[in-house]
């Protein structure tokens, strides 16, 4: 019971953390691309496009994970394949 409450509270934490990570990455990307020189701009931009393209969907998944946690989906993990079919 006590653990289930923690799981739900943490679910909310993950839901907040996911957009915060995206915001942090976007802010970093803008800053680093802005600081780059003409010579390095295309490379720096490419690197940040890769990072954002990869981590944005993962953060969305993390948000959904948090949502499931908040809704109590992980209170009781399945014990048989029948539970997940």
């Amino acid at each position: 019971m006590y653990m289930n409450t923690i799981k739900k509270i943490l679910g909310l934490v993950w839901m907040c953390l996911a957009p915060a990570i995206i915001w942090f990455l976007v802010a970093q990307a803008i800053q680093k691309i802005g600081l780059s020189t003409d010579l390095t701009r295309s490379n720096v931009t490419l690197q940040w496009v890769i990072i954002l393209t990869i981590f944005t969907p993962i953060c969305i998944g993390f948000f959904i994970f948090g949502y499931y946690g908040l809704k109590g989906e992980y209170d009781q993990l399945p014990t048989s394949s029948k539970d997940v079919e």
């Binding site: 653990m3 923690i6 799981k7 943490l10 993950w14 680093k32 390095t40 490379n43 490419l46 690197q47 890769i50 990072i51 990869i54 993962i58 998944g61 993390f62 959904i64 994970f65 499931y68 946690g69 989906e73 992980y74 993990l77 399945p78 014990t79 048989s80 394949s81 029948k82 539970d83 997940v84 079919e85």
Partner: protein, 566 residues
């Protein structure tokens, strides 16, 4: 219902699965092992760090597409069967690896070279994405319930043994060929890629003789296989939530622990600590050799005490000890217990270099576009500048005679013009009889290793021990993971469901460790601190592992699912 496979047959199942997976890992790793050479061969010679970063990005691209390979081949594996799917992935992996060895360098075909390599690297990543889930599922579906962790852990050893094989082959060829021949456009660095085709053919022949997984065969005969495993895996909340839990509570942390121990460690020792090429690879070989049996030991233990706490302990150990371990790497390789090997031919990177002798026996060294130059230790040292520099350097007089002149190349001044000015300059008191002897010493490309450090015996073994410790963490998180994932999902969608979190965790979170680690260190570089904080790159694996550990401890169960044949 259970399907007990005879001990003699399970050995064959494990052998056939492991050999193929081993070869796929070998194929995948040689690219990373040869990143420095590849960056020179497939990118413009003056691209410097950005070429290496681009190469690492291509290396990482191979990891990033692995989840897509997991979806494509996972779906196939759940529909047509495990055996034929991982035969297909093997062919794709071997073919693309062989083809990378055939791509001409940037000097011959320009930008087509990195583009071709990127495409082939993506095929490699897709194939690997389909391979692992198939092999792990195939073995798990043959193994008895109380030995699933033990038997699947043999598959887990292949990732490390693949690295071992890749390192061994590269060292062997490089040692026999010499550095110059090995690094040439059509040099020995291509041989490991070409060798792949032989290994793959052998592996295909072995796998062709294998039969399909008994559980999948039963499902198929009953017409119960999934018609749309993607929809069933990710469209149903009950299953999708387990995919997310597997990713964020176990595999994400396992991925960063793995790639830090096996890749970041080697990259750090070679590029930051600048330990000599062969020595840095040999110490990895020793560490891997000593640590590999622990995959099986922890796999076995996971059958007895559960998977969760072994994996969590491995993550915790990494989080707590990475920074002290890497700090030791820095301290040990900067101390006096090593010798620096400075080779003029390998320590100057520039477009043009010339010397001019003058009357007072001073040699004037003229260097244009120096990236990094070391001459006679502290006498002459520049790092990363595009300015035209004129320096005096001498092997036979003291440092007070050194003269430095810097000219901005953007004003149109060219090397030869400056050289001419130097020759005619009365102020430098040139020996006119020697002016004609001015020789361009080098138009070298960027050297492979600028300063190599050869470690003494004690430091060498200390480093082996500390790399071994990191790989021990890898064995703790990675040894039980296949059994853990297999038990999380039902048979008819197992290949798809377990492959995706595995490859996002390992391919994306883990595969990005070298790239993001290098990038984070770059961010810490300032004009006041041009070297940056060499340990800053560790915050990425430490951060990811910490979140994963937290989630795993709270959300995962330690219960071993005895019945996966459902």
């Amino acid at each position: 219902m259970s399907f007990v496979t005879k001990p003699s047959k399970i050995s064959l199942v494990i052998g056939a699965s492991s050999v193929g997976t081993l070869i796929e890992w070998y194929d995948f790793y040689i690219f990373g092992m040869l990143a420095t050479i590849i960056s020179k061969q497939f990118f413009p010679s003056d691209a410097g760090t950005s070429a290496l970063l681009s190469t690492l990005a291509i290396f990482a691209a191979g990891f990033i597409v692995r989840p897509f390979g997991a979806l494509v081949f996972g779906r196939l594996g759940d529909i047509i069967g495990r055996k034929y799917t991982f035969l297909l992935t093997l062919v794709l992996m071997g073919g693309s690896t062989f083809a990378i060895g055939l791509v001409p360098g940037f000097a011959t075909i320009g930008w087509a070279a990195p583009i071709l390599v990127l495409i082939l690297r993506l095929v490699q990543g897709l194939a690997l994405g389909g391979e692992y889930g198939g092999a792990a599922t195939y073995v798990a579906e043959h193994a008895p319930a109380n030995r699933r962790g033990f038997w699947t852990s043999w598959i887990q050893t292949t990732a490390t043994l693949g690295l071992f094989l890749a390192l061994g082959v590269i060292i062997f060829i490089r040692s026999n060929q010499g550095v110059e021949a090995f690094s040439a456009e059509w040099g020995g660095w291509r041989y490991p890629f070409w060798m792949s085709i032989i290994l793959v053919v052998v592996s295909i022949l072995i796998r062709m003789k294998m039969s399909e997984s008994p559980m999948f065969t039963k499902l198929k005969s009953e017409g119960k296989t999934s018609t749309n495993p993607l929809k069933e895996s990710f469209g149903h909340k009950a299953n999708f939530k387990m995919v997310l839990l597997a990713l964020f509570g176990a595999v994400m942390g396992q991925g960063v622990i793995w790639y830090t121990g096996q890749f970041y460690a080697q990259s750090f020792i070679e590029t930051v600590c600048k330990v000599e090429f062969v020595q840095s690879r040999n110490l990895m070989l020793w560490a891997i050799l000593f640590a590999t049996p622990f995959f099986v030991i922890f796999g076995y233990l996971s059958d007895r005490i559960g998977r969760k706490w072994i994996m969590m302990l491995g993550m915790l150990a990494g989080i707590l000890t990475y920074r002290p371990i890497y700090q030791y790497f820095l301290d040990a390789t900067n101390a006096k217990n090593r010798t620096e090997k400075i080779d003029l031919a390998h320590t100057i990177s520039s477009e043009k270099i010339a010397t001019v002798d003058v009357k007072d026996r001073t040699k004037i060294l003229v260097v244009q576009k120096v990236d990094t130059a070391y001459l006679d230790g502290a006498i002459f040292s520049y790092t990363k500048t595009d300015t035209l520099q004129i320096a005096a350097e001498f092997s036979d007089i003291n440092a007070s005679k050194i003269q430095y002149v810097q000219v901005d190349p953007l004003d149109g001044t060219q090397f030869d013009t400056v050289l001419l000015q130097l020759k005619s300059s009365a102020g430098l008191n040139l020996d006119t009889t020697r002016i004609a002897d001015v020789v361009v010493l080098s138009k070298s490309a960027k050297p492979t290793i600028l300063v190599e450090k050869t470690l003494d015996h004690a430091t060498y073994w200390n480093l082996i021990w500390l790399v071994f410790v990191q790989i021990l963490y890898v064995t703790m998180v990675y040894g039980p993971i296949a059994a853990f994932l297999v038990e999380l999902f039902p048979t008819k969608i197992r290949y798809t469901s377990m492959s995706l979190p595995y490859h996002i965790g390992n391919g994306v979170f883990g595969g990005l460790v070298p790239f993001l680690g290098t990038l984070i260190v770059e961010f810490t570089k300032t004009t006041d601190n041009p070297a940056g904080d060499p340990l800053a790159g560790l915050w990425y694996p430490i951060g990811v592992a910490s979140i994963c550990l937290f989630i795993g401890v709270i959300y995962l169960t330690n219960k071993v699912d005895k019945e996966v044949m459902d």
